[in-house]
């Protein structure tokens, strides 16, 4: 018996790990108006799952590669002047459709697709925990290292060039971080709801923050609280865990927004 033996404890650790990485990254997703980009990357994960099963490769690797490919495809097509939201719609839904079709070809493999679409946090094992925390720490380290450059490039690309930075490289850093988060989060909330873990905590943190750093920290806190709260709530009322986590995050967003409205009307 070790400390991590209880499945609830493992689930809690997995949820916290994913939230801590997803929330600060989600701030950039919100600031750069990339919410659809996050969704497209997450949906590519289903295609990644199908490919890993077909080639008998680890799910994590397949999802990572599919997510990176999606990021690259978006960057290339975006540079060719396609309308961004239309293109993301095309890529995002195509990825999920091709993924579902590809999985149906895999004869002899019986997989629970629901687990990849909506996550299966209660089934997280020791190895999964290692991957999740490894990936989360990698993303946090990446964000920590590039923080100022990322912020400057987010404000204005020319401002970044003027300071000797390359905004395209910073965009690549974000694409990479997003792919890693998707790869580690698919087990926890599933491909369909990863976007929620990115965007909702960041959006909830916005009215409570005065600086970008504080917004990232508050978002991480809200993300972790949603994971723990959702896990507990799902246990009590017997609901699917991944969606319950997102519901709690949405509830926290509503509370933060309401507080902000009340504060503003009190000042007015």
């Amino acid at each position: 018996m070790t400390l991590f033996d209880g499945f609830m404890i493992r689930a809690a650790l997995a949820g916290i790990g994913v939230s801590l990485a997803a929330a600060p990254l989600g701030c950039f997703v919100v600031w750069r108006r990339m919410a659809f980009f996050g969704d497209a990357t997450a949906h590519a994960a289903i295609l990644g799952v199908a490919l890993s099963l077909a080639f008998d490769a680890p799910i994590f690797a397949g999802v990572l590669i599919a997510a990176l490919t999606m990021g690259y495809a978006v960057a290339v097509l975006g540079a060719r002047g396609h309308a961004m939201d239309t293109m993301l719609g095309v890529l995002s839904h195509s990825a999920i459709a091709f993924g579902l079709v590809a999985v149906s070809f895999l004869s002899g493999v019986r997989i629970d697709l629901m687990a990849y679409l909506f996550g299966d946090i209660l089934a997280v094992g020791h190895a999964d925990l290692l991957v999740i925390w490894g990936g989360a720490l990698l993303v946090l380290a990446l964000l920590w290292w590039r923080w100022s450059a990322l912020l400057t490039a987010t404000l204005n690309p020319d401002l970044a060039y003027g300071a000797g930075l390359d905004p395209k490289r910073e965009q690549l850093v974000l694409t990479l971080a997003l792919a890693v988060v998707v790869a580690v989060a698919i087990k926890v909330v599933g491909a369909l709801l990863i976007g929620a873990l990115l965007v909702i905590p960041a959006a909830a943190a916005r009215p409570l923050a005065q600086t970008p750093e504080r917004m990232a920290v508050i978002a991480a806190g809200i993300g972790a609280a949603s994971a723990l709260g959702g896990l507990q709530l799902a246990f009590w009322i017997d609901t699917p865990t991944g969606p319950t986590i997102v519901c709690v995050a949405a509830g926290l967003f509503a509370v933060a927004t309401l507080l902000d409205v009340l504060r503003k009307s009190a000042r007015a």
Binding site: W31, S148, N156, Y161, R214
Partner: protein, 263 residues
Amino acid sequence: MSLLSVTGLSARQGGKRVLSGVDFSIDRGEIVTIVGPNGSGKSTLLRVLIGALKPEAGQITRAQGLRLGYVPQKLHIDPTLPLTVARFLQLPHRVPAQKARDALARTGALGLWDQQMAGLSGGQFQRVLLARALLCDPDILVLDEATQGLDQPGSAAFYELIAHLRGDLNCAVLMVSHELHVVMAASDRVLCLNGHVCCQGAPEHVASAPEYRALFGSGTHGALALYRHEHSHSHDHHSHDHADCDHDHSNDGHSTPQSGGAV
């Protein structure tokens, strides 16, 4: 040796050639203004000079260790990004708080220290952007239509501030401007651009140059003529194609003394 110079510069933007054969240089202590109609390549030239755009051809020579302070055209800050003026000045590099305060004080914006960037007025915003450009102790200040959106007294005060800073910091100033009357008063040298360098020199010299008049008219010594662009500008000895120019010739039916372009 000049701080920054380019020779034979050509550049494309969005697949279209907007600059060709541009020669230009700037020395310490000089205020140089680039004027030209919309689409004449003013901002493109600045973007090449700060390194944001790779030129198609030509040489760029920078003095060793050249420090460049860049003030972009109006900067949009997404309202989802909480950012105080103090934090903004620390991007991308941390600087001592005292230095940031000094820079704000120089541009007359010290009182904005704690304010959110998204809540600033146009004039306040430009002063903060200017303060940020001062933090690297620049050899050259580069300003891209920095007074866009300011009213006349506001932009006059802004240019006065620039001239003052040039004296204090002994730096060069390179700016793009639409406001010809201010340009004439505030610059040491004017570069008139329209895909190529039409003419350059002291403001008085440029104002009386036929190429400049062809672009801006001579009505009020060029001061108010920018938006009355009633001529078909052409330099017959240049081979560049005027289909590339974005300026509107819908008024070509009106006859003006400059019609046809003087060469």
